[in-house]
Symmetry: C2
Subunit: 373 residues, 2 copies
């Protein structure tokens, strides 16, 4: 648990979040700079240096991506405003970064890669807009969720709209296989949401179901991002398979860290309230482990799941959960699981020629475990 | 108003609704049989005979479409159930019928046409699932809306899922231009929903805005259906343009009749409660006309729009609206408008070679005005 929990202590030192819109989360290069700072302060000097190199490598691409995000959704009605509200709040832009790096492994068709990078972020944003309606989410990226400002209807239609905008961009690229794969990906995401909906509040959710959800909801998009970048870069089938494996493991690692941040994160950094997954009855990796290992955890979890969404969570209750997860080493093993998947993502790359792009992908997989947002 | 209002008297005579699922609305051939009965009883013998011919012509296609609808959504979770719930309730299948007839104008690639017919119905179904969440809709096709049975979350994800299933089918057909056009169509639908959302409860909605919504939300899908069938039938560009014009006018006529049915329909036939559009603050063709012509209508409309969704509508209030719309001839002119658009749809076909498929399309355009659901 050290790495993630450790980030709490760094929050005061971390650069102030700032985006083009002056609110929300650090974006792209700002994020990399912040990660660099965190890892340096944690004594991870080698990783910090690699993050610096990664930043130099992708700064231009990330800036160009932000410029293209600004061109999306110029409608001035509520649906357009809901769309811009979310896009302007920034975000990690990790999925587009995957597209750009995969493209740079190949011969770097920057224009197609940028379009595909925008597309994958739009798909991700579309799911956030729908998820916030489904989950009655109040905040997103440290700001009020679009649905609380512009209404559920605008948030649903904005999500629909972003999904179509993403598909248009992919269709226009005319690269083989990418559009049907994206449709498969979105369907996998919905199927995972369906499982999650079914298991909501079920404390006996199996690890198999957890993995199906993590792979369907999160990893599938990273896999597509790697595929899209690889296609834009003109890479051939064996390399694309390698990238697919990288995306899968990276995505699961990312989800496992998200799970930990829900319990041990710093909400001023993540822009997310704590215990949100748990309150929504979503069983995360550390919780499933913890419930298996500590029978005393069960009543606290049941109490939190049963609480009305607006009710204040008592500190004693959250402390009981956090203490149990540490005592049973569920939190530590959750981080271990994320590290292992990060390791497998990096291992998938061994067959690729060494170079700056491959190194950058390795750095991303490593840094993802140490992020604090 | 006669034709639509007249249908009320026929409801006792009309065939009992029945579908594969044993509930919901008459589907495909049943619907055509019912329309034939209605027109015969109204003394529209020639139209009834043409409807009989249309039924013979398309019965096989419609049966095959129903068989394919049964194959959609075999997931057994709540999202799958929400999807099946809606599909099993039947529906007019008018959009797939347009696809099949346009294909039969050409050399009738039945398999592609059937896939595209399924696709267009899935797009339509997806919008219904999202609309019911947005509008807090309680009933749909004479049964509880999917969201009231399986929840808003399942209804939102089911809509997302159907949209993707539709796009997959279109992508697999690999016919030129259809996929980008469908993406444009869905975006036009969302833009229209956005305008409607913006104008909700605004009694001074302009006729220009009304038309933008009707064209974007309703006609765009009919245009795509005609285009899709035409492509499946291998028709060339000038014919496709003709079909596009037909779809546009047919769609606007369809919407205008829907508007009338909201005020003068028979809810046991339409499966819709009356005054639903009005209660949701949606300004329809006859209402916009009526508000322009009769200042006394305004307070009643304001009162209905302001009512909470669950409140019972007093008969005096609905009678006042209906009486005003008849007195000012807004209802009559609404029907006139629908007839005029139906006429323009048929006129668009004059350049096409005479034959059974063209006659069938003319019959559809004519019958659409006389429907009671």
């Amino acid at each position: 648990m050290k790495a993630v929990a450790g980030s709490l202590a760094d929050s005061a030192l971390a650069a102030q979040p700032s985006t083009a819109a002056g609110a929300g989360l650090p974006t792209g290069v700002e994020l990399l700079g912040r990660l660099e700072g965190i890892t340096a302060r944690r004594g991870l000097g080698a990783l910090a240096a690699r993050l610096g190199d990664l930043t130099d490598f992708v700064a231009g691409d990330l800036a160009e991506l932000e410029a293209r995000f600004l061109d999306v959704a110029q409608l001035d009605d509520r649906v357009g405003q809901a769309t811009r509200h979310l896009l302007d709040l920034g975000g990690k832009r990790l999925r587009p970064l995957c597209v750009m790096l995969a493209a740079r492994l190949g011969h770097d068709h920057t224009n197609a890669a940028l379009d595909l990078g925008v597309a994958v972020e739009l798909v991700h944003s579309a799911t956030l807009l729908h998820d916030d309606v489904v989950d009655h989410g109040a905040t997103r990226r440290g700001a009020p969720a679009a649905r609380t400002v512009y209404g559920n209807a605008a948030s649903i239609f904005a999500g629909d709209w972003l999904l179509i905008e993403a598909l248009r961009r992919v269709e226009r690229c005319r690269l083989p296989d990418l559009l049907p794969r994206l449709l498969d990906t979105i369907e996998a995401m919905i199927a995972a949401e369906a499982i999650q909906l079914e298991n909501r509040g079920r404390l006996n959710t199996s690890m198999a179901d957890y993995l199906r959800v993590a792979e369907g909801k999160t990893a599938s998009v990273f896999r597509w991002a790697m595929q899209a970048g690889g296609r834009a870069g003109g890479l051939d089938a064996p390399v694309l398979e390698t990238l697919d494996a990288y995306g899968l493991h990276l995505g699961v690692a990312f989800q496992a860290v998200d799970d930990l941040l829900d319990i041990t994160g710093d909400s001023t950094q993540t822009g997310k309230r704590l215990f949100v997954d748990l309150r929504e009855g979503k069983m995360t990796y550390p919780l499933i482990l913890g419930l298996e290992r500590d029978r005393a955890l069960r009543p606290s979890v049941e109490e939190i799941v049963a609480m009305p969404p607006a009710a204040e969570l008592a500190h004693e209750l959250t402390d009981a959960v956090t203490r149990s997860l540490h005592r049973s080493h569920a939190a530590r093993d959750g981080l271990r699981f994320a590290r292992e998947r990060s390791q497998r993502a990096r291992a998938a790359l061994v067959s690729l020629p060494a170079g700056r792009a491959r190194r950058a992908l390795e750095t991303v997989a490593e840094a993802i475990v140490d992020r604090d947002l």
